[in-house]
Symmetry: C2
């Protein structure tokens, strides 16, 4: 089995992003940035456990650590899932425009290429929900890390959305495109707002202003 | 010499972020997210070079690739610089509050701990300038990657700023704190706006709306 992308060093991953290769690209980068966001949430949880002041949140924090670990693992796996869908898409783009089989192959490739970023978005929403709860229950000593986590999860959410729209706009099946785009738009509306509220609350706590 | 943090795998870096260790934390994570942002700018440049349609931008794109590589390298190095400043700070926090030497040691540690995130912010501003130029001169086929780059550079800029404010608010030297905070605020004002404009232009191009 080929090495997973998450098993390359950060330096090599960033180098591969910069290079003239289609993957990793914006989709895989979004998955990694999302994983970084949720990992910061877990860091706050890990520093909160065992502190007397937060003893009444111990069970919640333990649950959140389990959820965070699972989201983090899923997002790291999505780097590869995003890459896997790209090859068939780039092959579909190479099919001559007058080939009668092109449309069906292209449609499937576009659809498949939308699934990983859609799942990245869903995981980023879960991460933002977790960060919102950590803002309330996590140690205030690490509040800047909750803020960073929210900023990164939001950027990953929006980054993944660009990688969906760029595919759905080429779907022949407009009903399917609109269905996916409706989910994307709904996630953006609820969760960028929620992430902004977390970041504003952190800023207020640190700087005394929002 | 110890292994650089950028030489750990993405999975291990994210795992170390999540763990109960102070570094890497939000500062180092911001540096990596910024490096991911500028790498996406370089990816667009690398796919633009050699294309007839963009031949008139060839010299500019080559220059931008050089600048991008340098910013990317600096941001990866800043992961370790941020970590290095943390240990003296955590030692300073451990000095008993009635120790007369505490204030001087603490002041220096807080100041030192603010420098890496300040440099991360400066590099993210340079990345956003580059992404703005790439939006104009890079291949439109990769416009979603320009958008992702801008989203990540902006999140990294804001993430690093939280790691500055949390230190400057404890400076005894208020004049120095205000000087640093003024630079931070000015960068945020100019560059979040610029990043938002890039992301809006990308969205307009992809979705036909801003």
């Amino acid at each position: 089995m080929a090495k997973k992308m998450s098993e390359t060093t950060c330096e090599d991953f960033v180098g591969a992003l910069a290079a003239k290769t289609s993957v990793p690209g914006g989709g895989g980068a979004s998955a990694l940035v999302g994983a970084i966001g949720v990992a910061l949430c877990s860091m706050v949880g890990n520093f909160t456990l065992g502190r007397k002041k937060y003893a009444h949140f111990e069970a919640d924090v333990n649950r959140m650590l389990g959820e965070g670990e699972s989201i983090q693992k899923d997002l790291l796996a999505l780097i590869d899932e995003d890459a896997k869908a790209f090859e068939p898409l780039s092959k579909a783009y190479a099919i001559p425009k007058d080939d009668p089989k092109r449309e069906v192959i292209m449609e499937k490739a576009l659809m498949d290429a939308s699934m990983a970023p859609l799942n990245i978005m869903r995981k980023c929403c879960e991460a933002i929900d977790l960060l919102e709860e950590m803002l309330e229950k996590g140690s205030v000593m690490l509040i800047s890390d909750v803020g960073c986590g929210a900023l990164f999860a939001k950027a990953a959410l929006l980054g993944a959305s660009l990688n969906i729209y760029i595919n759905t706009k080429s779907f022949s099946n407009r009903a399917e495109a609109e269905k996916i785009e409706a989910e994307v738009t709904a996630m953006i509306e609820s969760y960028t707002k929620k992430a902004d509220q977390i970041a504003a609350a952190v800023s207020l706590k640190i700087r005394g202003e929002a």
